[in-house]
Amino acid sequence: MIRLLTRDLRLAIRAGGGFGLAVAFFLIVSILVPFGVGPDRATLAPVAAGILWVGALLACLLSLDRIFATDHEDGSLELLATSPVPLEALVAVKALAHWLTTGLPLTLAAPLFGVFLSLPPSGMPWLIASLAIGTPALSMIGAFGAALTVGLKRGGLLLSILVLPLYVPTLIFGADTVRRGIEDLGPMTPLTLLAGITLGAIALLPFAGAGVLRVNLR
């Protein structure tokens, strides 16, 4: 399984792998929004948390369809399905590789982009904490969605439509954590709920993803 993870990471880093796509998209959002709504701190600061979380979510969504599609196209997915690695582990490892190439860089880059959006300094630790805890759920839910749409040509649209509603709770609790952190209104409550979503997704979705992969590979 570690082999699978290192292969996926190596593929992501090599040319055409799409590593950095999410961070570049996140950067573009964070730079363009101040141009769009004006650089005034009073207008930016209240919406900064929400924009950062929406940006992170969309950046994550951008690379979802690649999770299984490339392996499906070149036949690796069928060969992986007949290999000793259980499909449940395959889905989990794919989600982990996706998180390491999108969620983790986003989390690390977020404080810098927070500055672009005039996010108050008191919100920074909560922004990092909420992204670190919330983005694994985005990758895990996304891997499940990608498993659902794996056999479809140009399944990206359907994937986005399927996955977006599932992302809403993560977005709400994630952005709320940062907002409450800034206003000092007890950010631990949404953060705990966010952790609950992530843990639930990690516990259940590898099995659901493996189930739909089995059906899709028939």
Binding site: R3, L4, R7, R10, L11, R14, A15, G16, G17, D71, E73, D74, G75, S76, L77, E78, L79, L80, A81, T82, S83, P84, V85, L217, R218
Partner: protein, 208 residues
């Protein structure tokens, strides 16, 4: 039919896209044996091999084999273009827990290409890389779907040698192919096992 077969099919029926393709297929393969599946395009060779590989369920009958005994090779080779030949092969070797890729590389004459990115390979070289994966799986039963597509005569010879070597070591192979490999193998023509297409009265079956 031998009792200690690596792979036994009993009255197997398979369907493709909801339509029955084959019915009543039975055979057994013992260590050291090979079986060549013959039949025109669309006769169900791929479907049967996918069922043997465990990728799709059978409609009736049973396939008796250890699921960890079968190495499947499909039309697509599962090669990553940005990885080198050796990296592609080591990945599969590691996944199957064998780690030695040198025998596979030399069996398919890939030693000189080991450090080349797989995207720079020709179609035949890619196919050789795809087939060399079978050796690193270390599994006894090879289920091969059109293994010789895009191979030249010399490479077909390499492949036949690899299959022969595999059989000598107690392995077995089931393959769908149209050409004569010069391997001592039984043949099974699937034309005789074609399933009857459902007639108009079979609507109820579609809803079961």
């Amino acid at each position: 039919m031998s009792g200690d077969g690596l792979l036994t099919l009993r009255d197997v029926a398979v369907a493709r896209g909801g339509l029955p393709v084959l019915a009543g297929v039975s055979f057994a393969i013992a260590p050291g044996e090979a079986l060549v599946l013959r039949g025109p395009n669309g006769s169900g060779k791929t479907t049967l091999l996918r069922a043997i590989a465990g990728l799709q369920p059978v409609d009736a009958g049973a396939i008796e084999a250890d699921p960890d005994a079968i190495a499947y090779a499909a039309h697509a080779d599962g090669i990553k273009g940005t990885l080198t030949v050796a990296e592609n092969l080591s990945f599969w070797a590691g996944l199957f827990g064998t780690d030695d890729i040198s025998r596979a590389l030399s069996a398919f004459n890939l030693v000189d290409l080991a450090d080349r990115p797989a995207q720079a390979l020709s179609a035949g070289q890619k196919r050789r890389l795809g087939l060399s994966r079978l050796i690193v799986t270390g599994r006894p039963v090879w289920a091969l779907d059109e293994p010789t597509v895009s191979l030249d005569r010399a490479s077909v010879g390499l492949f036949a040698d690899a299959v022969r070597g595999h059989m000598e070591m107690g392995g077995a192979a089931v393959m769908a192919t149209h050409i004569d490999l010069g391997i001592d193998a039984r043949e099974l023509d699937l034309t005789g096992y074609r399933a009857a297409l459902p007639t108009s009265g079979a609507f109820d079956e579609a809803f079961q």
